[in-house]
């Protein structure tokens, strides 16, 4: 016994990419929708195993490539501790200097996300930071968010912005998050970071909006001298769903 979704679900579906108004078979979901779901799951599993290729970023400036201590994707997934530490060779590639901020494009759990969104955000945010001393761009492989703390320490940067691939979802396997950390140091708590998440081209936050939010966060953090849960986003949202979008990590235990 199945029932085709009624016409009016069409208009509701225009408001969200969520799987609403699915046709049913008795209590449960129709077979066609179940098979589509299984297809999406396999695709997302593929995204997890993909690797980041710096050449595909089409960067206007040279970058420094580093990697964590995780040897491959399989070890990366199982050992987040290794993903938070730079390899010895990677550390040597980061010359110490004096910078206000370092941007890091990192694969995280979706290299595709970093490839598609990273350079786009960077292109918008850099001109907004005219008086900032910006470190050379770093591209990090097999990286967790906290790897940025060590990168910033090596480079002598007061702030790090990790632009990292989120865990892939069924609707979108290329969503990126930005983690901004003021005064980063190895072993610091996640409550000291601010996050802008869900940056992607399938109804997520646009690179433009994310970059504007990020610029606000950076300027406010520099003014107050801190980042994290105490830095609350008080900007007003002009158009709902298109405005600022951030969340402090570790507020719901659902990080990365």
């Amino acid at each position: 016994m199945t029932d085709d979704p009624p016409v009016s679900w069409q208009s509701l579906r225009a408001r969200t990419s969520a799987r609403i108004g699915l046709a049913r078979a008795g209590n449960t979901i129709s077979g066609a929708a179940v098979r589509e779901f299984q297809f999406a799951h396999v695709r997302a599993r593929h995204a997890v195993s993909a690797t980041l290729d710096a050449r595909r970023l089409n960067l206007p400036q040279p970058c420094i490539e580093v990697e964590s201590q995780a040897a491959d994707r399989a070890e990366y997934v199982r050992r987040p501790d290794l993903g938070r530490q730079l390899s010895a060779a990677g550390r040597e590639r980061l010359p110490h200097g004096q910078y206000d901020v370092v941007f890091v494009i990192a694969d995280g759990l979706s290299a595709m996300a970093a490839e598609r969104q990273g350079a786009a955000v960077l292109a918008v945010v850099r001109p907004l930071l005219a008086d900032w001393r910006i470190a050379p761009l770093v591209v990090a492989h097999r990286a967790r968010v906290a790897l940025g703390d060590e990168i910033a320490t090596c480079l002598g940067a007061r702030c790090v912005v990790m632009m990292i691939g989120e865990r892939p979802g069924l609707r979108c396997a290329e969503s990126m998050s930005l983690y901004m950390t003021w005064n980063p140091h190895v072993g610091m708590r996640d409550s000291g970071r601010n996050c802008i998440s869900n940056i992607h081209g399938h109804g997520g936050l646009s690179a433009m909006a994310a970059a504007n939010s990020l610029a606000w966060l950076l300027k406010t953090a520099r003014m107050r001298g801190y980042s994290g849960v105490n830095l609350k986003d008080e900007t007003c949202i002009i158009e709902h769903g298109a405005g600022q979008d951030q969340k402090a990590v570790a507020t719901d235990g659902r990080e990365e």
Partner: protein, 460 residues
């Protein structure tokens, strides 16, 4: 203090109670990551033998995190009820396991015992129990709570409706919420994880949820799952806050990683109590937990992740929550690798929460980097339903498009209601019937244009 056991002529030695607990845990990646797992399966069974012979009183003397430096330990020790403990005070962990399963040990006995058990005792006994034992004992325990409806009644199972949206679009959230309500989900709570921590945005979401609830006069509660300090501000600004949410963990340091302490939870608890918004009850707190959160914050103090998890339940029970759930598979394969580990952890968390006296629910879920799929979730949801779980979380079509992971579908709640005869909270069920959303056998009517049109007359 050191512990030992003899098995097959071999002596197994353990350096501390913490090590016995960790080694006795079923294999999981998170304990290996922490470097606390048993080095081999023989030592694991050796640890279980040693653990079975340890008197329960030992757990009051040898605490895994120092009393002086950890407020969670202080809470556990200072609130321990020796009178409630008396019936089992003479037992070892092994004795307790068998006693829990006795026919004579009923729900009332277990409810009276709860304040006498520390989280470490509860974690310990769970390590000596097979999956069916975790189900059998949990099923005896009833934990009733209430706000605008009554959760935890025998023969009932609640559900949280989770209509998340990647950019917190109000029409998007509303569409997912409507889908859930038409499928009879949401009596435990309509709870949204916001994509943004923007305060104006938070207020808008709360007002939208409140608007729907009031317009349709739905006996349910709503919640925005934002940081407790945000919710405190929202309450100060008179936003319609039903429940205060917070993620919690089992050590002071891990909670600091979440940006919280017992005092801020206490402040929020009192503030929410003073609002007086509940109609049939006064439980105003909602907590989420999950194995691995302490290690994730580098604050596990050498404990295995399951023991650390149960200590979070001691934090939860200090605030008489309406709802508590473990987000069992969300944390990822570095903590719970596959379907087998997720299922075991879900059953442990539910059992331990119930034995501690909590209204325990579960987010039956997994991520795309874990070795698990929807078949594993089917197994866990049916096991938890058999175990008498208070509530489960459901999202549209199992796919959370904001948090990018898979949970149960609204439909799964219907499947469980049909398979196990469990019903929604009575007040909510009455509402479903009044709107003709359920048929004569209590099944949700298959969505049809007329139901949609009746509920939402105009498409704005």
């Amino acid at each position: 203090m050191s512990y030992h056991a003899f098995l097959g002529g071999e002596k197994f030695r353990f350096s501390s109670l913490k090590q016995v607990l960790a080694y006795a845990s079923p294999y999981r990646t998170g304990d290996e990551l922490a470097g606390v797992a048993a080095p081999d399966p023989l030592q694991r069974i050796g640890a279980r033998e040693a653990l079975a012979n340890i008197p329960l009183r030992t757990f009051l003397d040898e605490v895994p995190v120092p009393y002086e430096t950890d407020e969670v330990t202080r809470l556990i020790i200072d609130s321990h009820d020796t009178t409630a403990f008396a019936p089992v005070a003479h037992m070892t962990v092994g004795d307790l396991r068998d006693w829990l399963l006795h026919h004579e040990t009923d729900g009332a006995t277990l409810a009276a015992l709860a304040p006498g058990l520390t989280p470490e005792m509860v974690a310990a006994v769970s390590k000596l129990m097979r999956n069916q034992d975790l189900v059998s004992v949990a099923r005896k325990i009833t934990v009733r709570t209430a706000f605008r409806n009554t959760q935890g009644l025998p023969g009932r199972m609640g559900s949280r409706l989770q209509p998340n949206h990647p950019v917190d679009s109000l029409p998007g959230i509303a569409a997912s919420m409507l889908d859930g309500l038409l499928l009879g989900v949401g009596d435990a709570v309509v709870g949204i994880n916001p994509a943004s921590d923007n305060m104006a945005n938070a207020r808008d979401i709360l007002h939208m949820l409140e608007g729907v609830r009031v317009q349709y006069d739905i006996p349910m509660q709503t919640c925005l799952l934002t940081h407790v300090t945000n919710t405190l501000q929202l309450m100060e600004r008179n936003a319609p806050v039903d429940l205060v949410f917070q993620s919690i963990s089992g050590t002071q340091e891990a909670n600091a990683g979440f940006g919280i302490s017992l005092s801020v939870l206490s402040e929020a608890h009192m503030a929410s109590q003073s609002l007086g918004r509940g109609t049939v009850g006064t439980n105003t707190m909602y907590f989420e937990t999950g194995q691995g959160s302490a290690l994730s914050a580098n604050a596990h103090h050498g404990m295995d992740q399951q023991t650390a998890e149960v200590r979070a339940y001691a934090v939860a029970r200090a605030f008489s929550p309406l709802l508590v759930n473990t987000v069992v598979g969300f944390i990822g394969p570095e903590y719970l690798y596959d379907g087998k580990q997720i299922i075991r952890a879900g059953l442990e968390d539910h059992f331990c929460g119930k034995l501690m006296g909590l209204p325990m629910g579960c987010d039956v879920c997994y991520t795309n980097h874990a070795e698990a799929d929807q078949d594993d979730m089917d197994s866990l949801m049916m096991l938890l339903c058999t175990a008498g779980i208070n509530f489960l979380i459901a999202v549209p079509g199992s796919d959370d498009i904001m948090l990018n992971y898979q949970s149960l579908s609204y439909h799964d709640i219907q499947t469980l209601r049909s398979l196990f005869g469990v019903r929604a909270a009575p007040e909510f069920e009455t509402w479903l019937a009044a709107h003709d959303l359920i048929d004569a056998r209590g099944r949700m009517r298959v969505n049809s244009p007329d139901i949609l049109a009746r509920m939402i007359p105009c498409d704005d």
